[in-house]
Amino acid sequence: MTEFEESGLDPKALEVTRRQILRSLGGGILVFALAPDILAFAQRGGQRPTIPQEVDAWVHIGTDGRIGVMTGKVEVGQNARTMLTQAAAEELLVPPESIHLTMGDTDLVPFDMGTFGSRTTPTMVPQIRKAAAAAREALLGLAAAKWGVDRASLKLEQGRVTTADGKRSASYGELARGQKLETPISDDTPLTPISDWRTLGTSLPKIGARDIVTGKHTYASDLSRPGMLYAKVLRAPSFGATLESLNTQDAEAIAGVKVFRDGSFVAVAAPRLRDAERALEMLKARWSEKPQPSNKELFALLTEGAEKQALPAGAHMTLQGRYTAEFIAHAPLETRAALAEWDGKKLTVHTGTQRPFGVRGEVASALGIPEAQVRVLVPDTGSGYGGKHSGDAAVEAARIAKALGVPIKLVWTRREEFTHAYVRPAGVVEIASGVDAGGKLDHWQFDNYNSGGAGLGCPYGVADPRVEHHERESPLRQGSYRALATTFNNFSRETHMDELAHALGLDPLEFRLRNLSEPRLRAVLEAAAKGIGWGGAKPPKGRGFGIACGTDKGSVVASAVEVEVDSAIRVLRIVNAFECGKILNPDHLKSQVDGGILMGLGGALFERVEFANGRILSDGFSKYRVPRFSDMPPMETLLLDRPDLPSVGGGETPIIALAPAIGNAVFAATGKRLRDLPLTL
């Protein structure tokens, strides 16, 4: 088995894709960007990489001058479309509006694992830059050969190549005409140095923004086709319930309604949504349910059989702490939605997902057809936050569409989204620590139950730390979430650090700095502390300051807050300092950081999936509280630009330090230590 096969790629499917792409593109210049690991693999094997399995981006200069860039990444509000367009425009020295970026169409773009893990900035931006730079070099080579001049003397400006004397000039399209040039990128291709950047590093406004404010942008949930039926799926009342009996007579009596059943998967479809909704209500289903856990036994369940942590003998001071986090929901405002069409040979589905190729696999396997017969297209989507890795709606719509032979539109209701989408894992963290007489950590044991292994490592200097993630069977369907388990692991760690500082009689900032050698983390911590006025005048009674920091996916963050506590926790002010290397689009980065912080406010203060006996009770925005306008405190965000460091993603890490900063501030204000998320007095 090759590494490609292990990665889940279907080479046959991709061969078809390649032919389609080359046919659809016609002539011109095509540049392939190879994924670094695959390039290395190919080089190890001493073979020329074959195309396109190993390609993770394309740049194409058409004979009409059109510049096409294709990537498997998708746009879910993080402004990847804008940033990747900037990357291509920068290296080709063209205005961003000259770039046509195709995203997340599995028939047209190279394979991509998905849009998650803050990977677009550190991996796709460099790949597209290299591919665009290679295209630029190819254009220069063509012009130099055509005119018999030294390529170093040529100038590039606004999509044209011009000789030094200005006498000869050709557009990219003219140069590409008559060419059928395919070239892979190489690491030798020179990239534009930061000092010469004109597009990257600037706050290019969001591409497609005008269509959003006018309501023209079509999300997957806005699409329709002639003859399309709206579908609704029969849902089990609780987790693990099995369908005992079903009577579809009344539903089928409604004009135009069709019922589809395949085992326990039951759906109704009708030309009008309201008729499908009514038909769903008319289905008479009897379910067999079994007893299931509830919130109240959750943490005991997750730590069943856990080994008791041992404290070190002879330490100057030791401390143990137990921290918990409830399940929370992503609740993307656009619910899961899909439009599926079957033409007798191929299933085409438009859907909002972060993993178009993953969903292609899910659909193919659900239908029992090869992946080559499935095309997934992802319109710019109404957010995900890690919640749209799966293709639930796409698979359901595809099954119905193939069976009924008509286009099927399926949009999950908010209730379905809350009760059937996966949730962020709940968890328990236990920490046992020791500190020496100099206030330095000398023992660290950290056990995470169920919530996940991301952000498990201790950024503070301690010899021989023991950290472990213990997998548990979850009572709810759980999955990825913005920053994964780092938010809860960091909450536990940073709360514990605050407890240690107070137990030692040390200032929490001073205690952290004493144990922290990582200069980038120190820099954001000090910036946030300065911003909030740490160590200044003592706050009035009932108020307090709190601080926390953390690192994940190569970026660093610190949050400092001031709170007021009476019958509730009120966040009066937030200061964040964030650093993710060289900033590529300052305005969009700030938007991501501020959004992440405010989203984190929900998980910190009030978000909690309520469930009992296998039923999720918090099944609407009226029962699941998310941050709203009035929750927004005054907020200052400090972005530390580091042109000397590679750019990494900024959509996730900013969320991880807020909850512990608030909890620590509540302790400073009241003396009450909060160890559970959401924080409750």
Partner: protein, 159 residues
């Protein structure tokens, strides 16, 4: 029994839709009239994604029966601009970069339009109160707040 024919005025055009009286205005706008700029977010009037103007007032289309708005003037996000000339709120949302995924934006703009229609110069607490029912899961609230202030100033200046 045949469903009644409902006569609606949407974005200045007379439209007729056959729908049972309890059919939501949201369903009629999106699926009968193809005006998909108005979004489904929750179906219980708790997120504001579906806000439209009914006789100038912000209204949640998902919990408004279509039969209730017969004879009234309905404006959706598609009808807010005058030709190519954007409404000051649309301009302001662009100028402030007040969107991430953008799914909540039509509802945000229509809620704000309802507010500015009855109160051209709202205070910050008045804006927060009027917008409390609109959810942005990307949490772009700070920029949206700024955009609404900016639009109010722009509308004042246009007078």
């Amino acid at each position: 029994m045949e469903e009644p024919l409902l006569s609606l005025t949407v974005n200045g055009l007379a439209r007729e839709v056959r729908a049972a009286g309890d059919t939501s205005l949201l369903e009629v706008l999106r699926n009968d009239l193809g005006l998909t700029g108005t979004k489904y977010g929750c179906g219980e009037g708790a997120c504001g994604a579906c806000v439209v103007l009914v006789d100038g007032a912000a209204k949640r289309a998902c919990v408004t029966p279509a039969s209730e708005v017969v004879g009234k003037t309905i404006t959706t996000i598609e009808g807010l601009a005058q030709g190519d000339r954007l409404h000051p709120l649309q301009e302001a949302f662009l100028d402030e970069g007040a969107m991430q995924c953008g799914y909540c934006v039509p509802g945000m703009i229509m809620s704000a339009a309802g507010l500015l229609g009855k109160n051209p110069n709202p205070s910050e607490p008045q804006i927060l109160e009027a917008m409390e029912g609109n959810v942005c899961r990307c949490c772009g609230y700070p920029r949206m707040l700024k955009a609404i202030h900016r639009a109010a100033r722009a509308m004042e200046a246009r007078k």
